[in-house]
Amino acid sequence: MAEKSIEQRVKEIIAENLEVNADQVVGEAKLIEDLGADSLDAVELIMNLEEEFDLEIPDDAAEGLVKVSDVIAYIEDRKGK
């Protein structure tokens, strides 16, 4: 079985964390406005991403992650794609 891409893994984590359907988790979707995340959800999501990808996401970086595509780009950048 082919390994999942970072994009797939990020989208799965977001869908699971925010309990939304996978088809809602598109690149342009905003975590708070479109996917219903509140401040605690956002903290938990960052923690789960750190866990999954074995990295530390500083608070100022986390604040810039507004859309699903922002999260994917950030993780890809940190993990060297």
């Binding site: 925010l18 309990e19 605690l40 959800d41 903290v43 938990e44 923690m47 866990e51």
Partner: protein
């Protein structure tokens, strides 16, 4: 609505519960009358090394219908699942249409003795094994014991008085009493009140066992909780919740509500005697009963049935017998006094709630529910403890006793509603 404290009357118009013997009041009542027992070997976790390996667990329970989303279920502790569900069942039972209510006049007091012990346990494991940066942002809102009250209000937009009582095993009764007082003083027309508890977890079972408070009759779970019996050896933990709808009388009558009974009085005192042991003379409990009867304007002779706190501990049950004899004198021997903890286990902060639900059904059916496993009544107890089978009898007035670690005594008086 009457303009002062004494004019306003409070009635019970809805019952909801989650328990080992059913997740609605009618199922619970049927099982209590039939002498059923919800206690069994603990299945929720591996309990092989524990002194007490039995409890009255809630099984096959799905909180989802009472919650707005699966996400809300996931970010709340089991005690909140129970409390919110019991409130939702009470709402349904009351027939209240919240869309027609002034929600500033509807409040919630759902107490808990301990709160989210399971969450505390799990997150402490995370802290130790993975460090402080991995502790969940939901830990605090999940474990704080007022969250069942807060979230039930949030889900139904109830903006009236709201907090959570916390007085160990007297919690549920204090919540109901404080809700009664809130309606009496005119601060709400409707109150959802009761208690919830979910402590059948490793810390809960080991902590109470360390106090030597729990039965070790592990081989006979259905026989282990035996209030007033000479062979009792401790309480058996239960879990669940009960929430009742209390309503100002004219408000209930205006909407044609079914009235289970009138909540007529509330007493609240402290033993100030010992951290966990009850006063052997039962003086604090006696004063609480007297206070509740004074508020109800009833003489001791008016009482027909007492639902006792009696948890099946060697010391506690006889202290309560002393308190009852102290208050009621000769009339004590004419009363029916039962403890339903043989059936439900001791639901701690939820106990006063579930037992007040049972009292409401008892006054409706005019039947005193039995104390099960009462094979040989303690020779120090001369009371009619309704051994093993229900007793049909006139019940115009009931008394509900609850006592908690800390020396807390809470007592409710209910009476048949006759207009």
């Amino acid at each position: 609505m009457g303009s002062n404290w004494s004019d306003r009357r409070v009635v019970v118009t809805g019952l909801g519960c989650v328990s080992s013997l059913g997740n609605d009041a009618s199922t619970l009542w049927g099982n209590v009358l039939a002498g059923q027992c919800g206690i069994d070997a603990v299945k929720r976790f591996d309990i092989a090394n524990y002194d007490c390996r039995i409890a009255a667990e809630v099984r096959d329970f799905d909180p989802a219908p009472a919650f707005p989303s699966g996400k809300e279920v996931r970010r709340t502790d089991r005690f909140t699942h129970f409390g919110v569900y019991a409130g939702w069942k009470a709402l349904e039972d009351s027939g209240l249409d919240l869309s027609r209510e002034d929600l500033d006049q509807v409040g919630v007091y759902i107490g808990s003795g301990i709160g989210g012990l399971e969450t505390t346990e799990e997150q402490h494991k995370v802290l130790l094994s993975r460090g402080p940066g991995r502790v969940s942002p939901f830990m605090i809102p999940m474990l704080i014991l007022n969250m069942a009250s807060g979230l039930f209000a949030l889900y139904h937009k109830l903006r009236g008085p709201n907090f959570a009582t916390c007085s160990a095993c007297a919690t549920g009764t204090h919540a109901l009493g404080e809700a009664w007082a809130t309606i009496k003083r005119g601060d709400a027309a409707v109150m959802f009140a009761g208690g919830t508890e979910a402590t059948i977890v490793p810390l809960g079972m080991s902590g109470f066992a360390a106090m030597k408070a729990m039965s070790t009759r592990n081989d006979e779970p259905k026989k282990a909780s035996r209030p007033f019996d000479r062979d009792r050896d401790g309480f058996v933990m239960g879990e669940g919740a009960a929430v009742l709808v209390l309503e100002e009388l004219s408000h209930a009558q205006a909407r044609g509500a079914r009235i289970y009974c009138e909540l007529a009085g509330y007493g609240n005192t402290c033993d100030a005697n010992h951290m966990t042991s009850p006063d052997p003379e039962g003086a604090g409990a006696a004063r609480a009963i007297q206070m509740a009867l004074r508020h109800a304007g009833l003489p001791t002779e008016a009482v027909d049935y007492i639902n006792a706190h009696a948890t099946s501990t060697p010391a506690g049950d006889m202290c309560e017998v002393q308190a009852i004899r102290r208050v009621f004198g000769e009339h004590a021997l004419r009363l029916a006094v039962s403890s339903t903890k043989g059936a439900t286990g001791h639901m701690l902060g939820a106990a006063g709630g579930i037992e007040t639900v049972i009292c409401c059904k008892a006054i409706e059916a005019q039947v005193a529910p039995p104390t099960i496993n009462l094979d040989h009544v303690d020779p120090a107890c001369p009371l009619n403890c309704v051994p093993n089978v229900p007793q049909e009898r006139r019940i115009d007035v009931f008394v509900k006793n609850s006592f908690g670690f800390g020396g807390h005594n809470a007592v409710l008086v209910g009476r048949k509603f006759n207009g």
